[in-house]
């Protein structure tokens, strides 16, 4: 079982993930239409790139008014996303497996740090969950898929934590490890098909709006507005 989930199934998952997100990006860009969107994307490419860069700069870093207005929520959100993306990519155990399979490797973070980052993801996830269950503003927007997506995102971290610490918890180490790998694969496969597609579509959307403002909505006039 371990050989299967860490071997062929992992390969299939990565393939679906990469093909999926590339397809989403291509579909997004192909769907842009200067007339329908009313943005001269190609004619004013220079101004558009400037606007897109400005938009990404202000939102990848906490240099925006939403962060100023909602500092706690945004701090948790930034932490959640940073840890969620960096932990699996730089976790030593993952790199060892990748090196054994494809003979490539890169820097790793100490297990101790990864451990705290995992806890940060889980804690932030619980914060989001509680907020969804209690805040009337979030409640009215929440659909079943929001919970499912949150569960998909958190599962690899919770099971990873259990497996790393070799807690028995009924199933035993090896079962938890297999469950962890499966959860990671479910997440990878889900990214192109669910709201998790914002993994790439966030960039598409921000770049598009940045271009809109950079080209049409005053980017070429005045001091430019950061969105």
């Amino acid at each position: 079982m371990y050989e299967f989930v860490s071997g062929p199934l992992a390969l299939i998952s990565f393939a679906i993930f990469f093909v999926g997100i590339i397809t989403r990006i291509v579909w997004y860009v192909k769907g842009l239409d200067w007339r329908l969107d009313r943005v001269a994307y190609s004619e004013k490419l220079g101004a558009g790139i400037k606007g897109a860069a400005r938009s990404l700069f202000h939102w990848l870093l906490p240099l925006n008014r939403t962060t100023a207005n909602h500092p706690i929520f945004m701090a948790v959100t930034y932490l959640f996303h940073i840890c969620l993306v960096l932990t699996p990519i730089f976790l030593m155990a993952h790199i060892v497996l990748i090196e054994e399979s494809w003979n490539i490797s890169w820097v790793t973070i100490p297990d101790k740090v990864a451990d705290y980052m995992t806890l940060a993801v889980i804690a932030a996830g619980i914060f989001f969950l509680i907020r969804r269950l209690t805040d009337p503003n979030v409640k009215i927007l929440t659909t079943a898929s929001d919970y499912i997506v949150l569960a998909i995102a958190l599962a690899p971290f919770i099971t990873g934590y259990i497996a790393y610490h070799q807690w028995e918890l009924g199933a035993g180490y090896k079962s938890w490890l297999i469950i962890h790998i499966l959860c990671g694969e479910i997440m990878l496969i889900s990214i192109p098909f669910t709201k998790l597609s914002h993994f790439v579509l966030f960039f598409c959307s921000r770049i598009q709006l940045g271009m809109d403002y950079g080209i049409k909505r005053g980017g070429m006039k005045g001091r430019g507005i950061a969105w």
Binding site: E100, Q166, K174, L177
Partner: protein
């Protein structure tokens, strides 16, 4: 009363014998691959019951122990047995780094033979 006392002696003797058997067994077994060159370890030293490999699995010494001369493994009992003598922490262009050597040697064989542990935690247990 008498019965209880006998039971207690048996229990003590049983436990003690476990330790004695363990001590005898351990004398000539290497239990883990604890090498000092791993200064900053992320994981505990890998468990390695040597006797299990030699006596029960009857694996030839040369499967693991090696000194190559002209493409031939010339290792014997009298030669160096300390892996870290040749395999260093970082790749030096001549030998595979020590961690990789262990992973490839142990896990590679376990996978090939379909026997023995291959997941991280089975060799590197968490210190409790």
């Amino acid at each position: 009363m008498e019965k209880n006392r006998i039971a207690l002696y048996i229990a003590i003797a049983g436990l003690a014998s476990l330790f004695i058997i363990g001590a005898v067994y351990a004398q000539d077994d290497i239990k883990s691959l604890k090498h000092d060159i791993f200064v900053e370890r992320e994981r505990s030293a890998a468990l390695f019951p040597h006797v299990l490999h030699t006596d029960e699995a009857e694996i030839d010494c040369l499967e693991c122990h090696h000194i190559y001369k002209d493409g031939e493994n010339v290792w014997d009992d009298s030669a160096e047995t300390e892996c870290a003598e040749c395999h260093k922490l970082e790749a030096d262009g001549k030998t595979i780094p020590l961690m990789k050597a262990f992973h490839e040697n142990c896990k590679g064989c376990h996978e090939k033979e379909g026997k023995g542990p291959i997941t991280c935690g089975e060799c590197h247990p968490m210190k409790k």
